[in-house]
Amino acid sequence: MDRSKFLKLSSLAAMGWIIGPSLVACSKNTLFENPNYKGKVLIIGAGAAGLYAGYLLQSLGIDFQILEARNIYGGRMGKFEGLSDYTVDTGAQWLHGNNSILADLVKKSKTKITNDTSENTYWFQNQLVKTLPKDIEIFDKEGLPDISFEDYALQQGFGSEYKFIVESLAGDQGADASQLSAYWNHKDEENWVAGEDDFKFKDTYFHFIDQNIAQPILPKIQLNAPIDGIDYTVDKLQVKLKSGTILEADKVIVTVPISILKLNEISFSPALPTAKTEAFQKIGMGPGMKVFLRFSTKFYEDFVLGGSICAAYADDTVGKTTNDNVLLAFIMGEQAAYLSGLGSDAAIIQALLAELDLMYNNQASLNFLNGVVFDWTKEPYIKGAYGFSSVNMGDARKIATQPIDNKLFFAGEAMNINGHHQTVHGAVESAYKAVNDLILNLK
């Protein structure tokens, strides 16, 4: 071959190398075009992740079934009608940000939401104040060490008087300040792109998910079907229910809370790789509860942070159509564990009223009408609030979410690897990732 022929051929090959893949890529406009998969997928758990995984599979014409342990679907989203003239969200209630799959669904479905612009008030050194003497926004910057919020705050000169303010910040992440990593939490926040506004649904978050995602796949959800174990040695996976029934599937998507995986409540055969089970352990998940208190008048601010019994109180009626006054106590970590340990809902409510009395000159007890407690830690198939980034967490989320043998896939809020864990929209994104992994590996 002479030189010029060689040059011509190699330039043609180079052009082909550049253009070829691009032109092939031109042909389709969705990653999932016609997967034409005839296998059966079982989804464990009917929370946001499980429901959305089913919704996606349905849209692709893939056979699936959702197995849910409890007698209701929705997981950590729920509603309760018996407290006031409107329905309260027993779990998730704020749509965080307007830039996510769910935010797009809100816009498309014209669901009514309100931007919750409640301003912070702090309970600081036994006084309600609008601003703190020192700016506590210390966790939102580069180069934080991998130590707990508590330790970092102390290191930065925020003494014991700031303890419960720091707890309220950690509580927002579903954690104790002593366990939440300043470094990993910030890393996750850097990836957060959903937007900073918090929106409340005119109805409930549960209602929105129910109407738009659960209803279209209702016949595929099997309630009261707790899973005991999954055998993935065989070609067809065998999913064993607690009732003893064994179901077969080609693929399984596990969406149970990370707490359930940490406690090995579902057995895997063969055992999951050590790296994976270690990763489960590294992802934090602490106790969490919501208590709603109804009062005859509104004597409280919209958002009070820093209580020693409950680090975050919020006016629950923001964005609702109601004549009632309902205050939400949002309790996480150590505080939730303490209140849970009091043993009865009445005792929990009494403890909260006592703190509010201190803040508001006995107004709470005077105006109290009724209240209701939702302790998520006591739910046998939830066992906590939501996954947080603990000290030394490293790549745990990425490892935890990796599929196994192209048969077992993992989703759920704690498996979200793009900064949106702890949220409903993050759970939905993790479901998308699991379905995506499943489909893209079919060939």
């Binding site: 691009s22 389709k28 406009n29 830039n99 498309k108 900073e196 793009n418």
Partner: protein
């Protein structure tokens, strides 16, 4: 900078044989596998959207350029141009409008040579700059109260052919056809902007492939 400009003006002034200022309007087609993937993720993650978000493919562009031949090789010219292209991805679903725009602004340096009396072959090197923006129902999509933008920068290489029709002593008209290949680096916000995640699928280093055809009007200056 000042020195450079003075030098440039001197070069332009003394080396010229027949300078030409040109303006071009073109149609552009582009393929970028990472943007494609991000749009595909957007679509496949949202089965509830019946109108799919189109890929960034078809765009329009304009260029303004200035060329001058060398004294030694009258068939060889070189010059500078500034190109702008605009690509759009727009979908409407029951009143929910998602509109994404991709703008590119590319300063280029080129050399061209006459293949025949009328055919001109050009080799162009460019420094494309990309900016991507997005609105929902005409409102910029924001994060932390600031609109999300994504930017990128690359290095492009571009062979181009044109055929010159001389209309009169001062004006020529040339249909042009060019291919462009451009490895580039874009901010991780690109993925975030398109499908609202970051670090899930796309990678920040990527390449564009595209072609365009258009019509160039050149305003020729008489020989000095």
């Amino acid at each position: 900078m000042k020195k450079f400009l003075v030098l440039l003006i001197l070069v332009l002034h003394f080396q010229v044989e027949s300078q030409a200022l040109s303006v071009e309007l073109n149609y552009s087609f582009c393929v970028n596998s990472q943007f494609d993937k991000a749009v595909r993720v957007y679509n496949s993650a949202r089965p509830f959207l019946t109108s799919k978000q189109p890929l960034f493919r078809n765009g329009i562009g304009a260029k303004i350029g200035y060329s001058f031949p060398t004294k030694k090789h009258p068939k060889v010219q070189y010059g500078f141009e500034l190109g702008y292209s605009y690509f759009d991805s727009y979908a409407e679903n029951d009143g929910f409008i998602n509109d994404m725009q991709l703008h590119t602004l590319t300063p280029r340096f080129f050399t061209s040579t006459k293949i025949t009396n009328r055919f001109l072959g050009q080799l162009i090197l460019g420094l494309p700059n990309y900016g991507m923006f997005r609105q929902n129902n005409s409102e910029a999509v924001t994060n932390d109260e600031t609109p999300i933008h994504a930017f990128g920068i690359g290095l492009s290489i571009r062979p181009q052919l044109s055929y010159q029709f001389i209309l009169n002593e001062h004006i020529s008209l040339s249909p042009t056809f060019g291919l462009e290949y451009c490895p580039f680096q874009y901010s991780p916000q690109g993925e975030a902007l398109i499908n609202q995640t970051k670090g899930l699928y796309t990678n920040n280093f990527n390449s564009f492939f595209g072609f365009d055809f258009g019509v160039k009007v050149s305003f020729l200056k008489a020989r000095k």
